[in-house]
Point group: C2
Chain length 373, copies 2
């Protein structure tokens, strides 16, 4: 019996959840961030994620985990996605449950299955560099490690978490693999500056590559009940009545835990986590300021325009115009402005206040206007 | 024969021209400033002007001078306006021609006619104070003077011209009438400050009250050919073919001169100009910053909203939202912003740059987009 190469045991899992409320009114409950084209490429972030993974894994080894409400939109955007690889959640239960369920399904399909988790709503440029990093991570995963991919920082970003790297692990790969000393939360600007100056810190892009069983066993140390439930659901996974009953019984009670807490941090502390240091461009497109920077490549004074029919007239203005109409948008003397022009909502803010959009959305949830969210 | 009281010889002339391009995209070639409701009162500025004059003069003594293109809109907004009092221009020829033509028509109707010229697109609050000022000005006009009405300044405005007043003319009226020393152009902020500190300066509101013949004779000193043409046109004024021929022959060649230069300044230099110092609130609504100040009564940090269906959600924002749609307008962290939301154009600027809108409009005239002007 020939052993299957590690890369051929990789299933790419795309957790597609999260509305992205900082991108309201472009993102809505029924049009979450991952279904949107935020780069003007013509592809949604989800579709772009699929395209990025397609050279690494065939369709039968790409899986999407999403909410019931988005099943049809996801299937429409990804016609190649096999029905058995479209995993839907009854309700959102954060990343441990979403990725853990995929892992539990995969370990039953193949005890040596390797799982790679890649967010549905990030932007990556440099597909060859991305593929190389994934292959390196898969090799480490095949040795029993949980691998993550960290991004060489280009500026002292305060919107991302960082990974502090330790010794190079040339035993696992000739290049780019390091021990993970610690995951660190989003820093303030001064701290981010010291990270860049000191070196050895990478942006945490939230990618995890591990054997499905290794991932679940690690998760079980922190969340034994969660993993037991996930394995119980996976055991009867499918379209049968038995499967539906199991999900209805178990899913509502699952704890909401980010995989960073249930897997990444404890694994790092236990020396089971390694990091692949990658050189591709990456952004989690967290707010409109990020989109503006992506589209203008960060050039100050530039005005980014996103939208098909958008006509923009700018007099001494910079920032971003997102237009879903064919109206003329005229800007006079607006620096770092954010204008989002949709059919039923117009948002005007600044790059500086782009993060505060989430606060407005949260207020609307309680004070009315929920139909616009 | 009983002499008619001066106030009963007053005809109010409303020159209704000027698109108000600093108020684009609310103002358009086919929706000039005077046809717009800029205060949220439900009345256009023109209609509000009529309402303000109605207690002073009956409909047969209120005249409107406007462009051919606006004839129908004006007639619609002012159903009381008599057809013979709707004077239309073949093309705009500035205020000397517009007011001069009205004067030439009026002096033929009554050699003792008094003309009062009141802009169609200013905002005035305090109608009793306004009426009192007009009556005082009419009394001075009846004595052969050209009277203007100046406004006590409330702040060192740089957007208005000023009138430097001299001695009180208690011989003409017991209160509020002064010699005009000089008309001064829009000052810079420091100069405006010294005007307020020194006292004796009023805002030039561009109102002129004089006997029609006195006004024309004064204008003829500076612009004899213009006045000769206007009197020639007025002599055959009406709907006859002869009238049309005279207009077509003479109107295109008329010089474009502001009445400030043809009448006000030389009359002041000659000691024939007096000023009534008035206490009503006045604004020429020159740009969106003015509208914001009018609607918020100048309170900093307040957000003004103009528009019927406008829904506005503001998080730490101030300035003005003008909405012609029923879309939600959400503002996050925008200080002194100007948002004008129309069916085909969205303008975003700031109170600071509100004057620069005119520059954008001028660029559009030459570089395309003229259909949106």
């Amino acid at each position: 019996m020939t052993e299957t190469a590690a890369i051929d045991r990789l299933t790419c899992v795309i957790p597609a959840g999260g509305v992205g409320s900082r991108l309201w009114p472009l993102s809505r409950a029924n049009a979450p961030k991952f279904l949107l084209d935020l780069t003007g490429s013509g592809d949604s972030l989800l579709r772009a994620t699929w395209n990025r993974l397609a050279p690494i894994a065939p369709p039968e080894r790409i899986m999407v985990v999403t909410g019931n409400a988005h099943r049809d939109s996801v299937a429409e955007q990804l016609p190649e996605l096999l029905p058995e690889n479209l995993v839907t959640e009854n309700e959102p239960k954060d990343s441990s449950a979403a990725i853990g369920l995929a892992a539990a399904i995969l370990e039953l399909r193949d005890p040596d299955a390797i799982l790679g988790s890649f967010a549905a709503d990030h932007v990556i440029r440099g597909s060859v560099l991305f593929q190389r990093a994934v292959r390196t991570a898969v090799a480490a995963a095949d040795q029993g490690y949980i691998a993550t991919i960290g991004i060489h920082p280009t500026h002292p970003a305060t919107g991302f978490g960082y990974i502090e790297c330790g010794d190079a692990r040339t035993d696992l790969a000739p290049f780019d693999v390091y021990e993970v000393e610690e995951f660190v939360e989003k820093p303030d600007e001064a701290t981010a500056g010291t990270y860049l100056e000191r070196g050895g810190y990478l942006w945490n892009a939230g990618m995890f590559i591990a054997k499905a069983t290794v991932l679940l066993d690690q998760m079980a140390l922190a969340e034994p009940a969660l993993v037991a439930s996930l394995r119980e659901i996976a055991a009867v996974w499918g379209s049968t009545k038995k499967s539906a009953v199991a999900r209805e019984r178990l899913w509502p009670g699952l704890p909401k835990v980010a995989i960073d807490y249930s897997v990444a941090e404890p694994a790092a502390a236990a020396g089971k986590m390694v990091c692949v240091a990658a050189h591709f461009e990456w952004d989690d497109v967290g707010d409109f300021a990020s989109i503006a920077d992506l589209l203008t490549r960060g050039r100050k004074g530039d005005l980014a325009v996103l939208g098909d029919g958008a006509q923009v007239l700018s007099d001494a203005s910079s920032g971003i115009v997102v237009s879903e109409s064919d109206r003329l948008v005229a800007l006079v003397g607006m620096k770092d402005v954010v204008v989002v022009d949709t059919a039923d909502v117009l948002l005007v803010t600044s790059k500086e206040h782009a993060q505060d959009v989430k606060g407005l959305v949260n207020r609307m949830k309680v004070s009315g206007g929920g139909h616009l969210l």
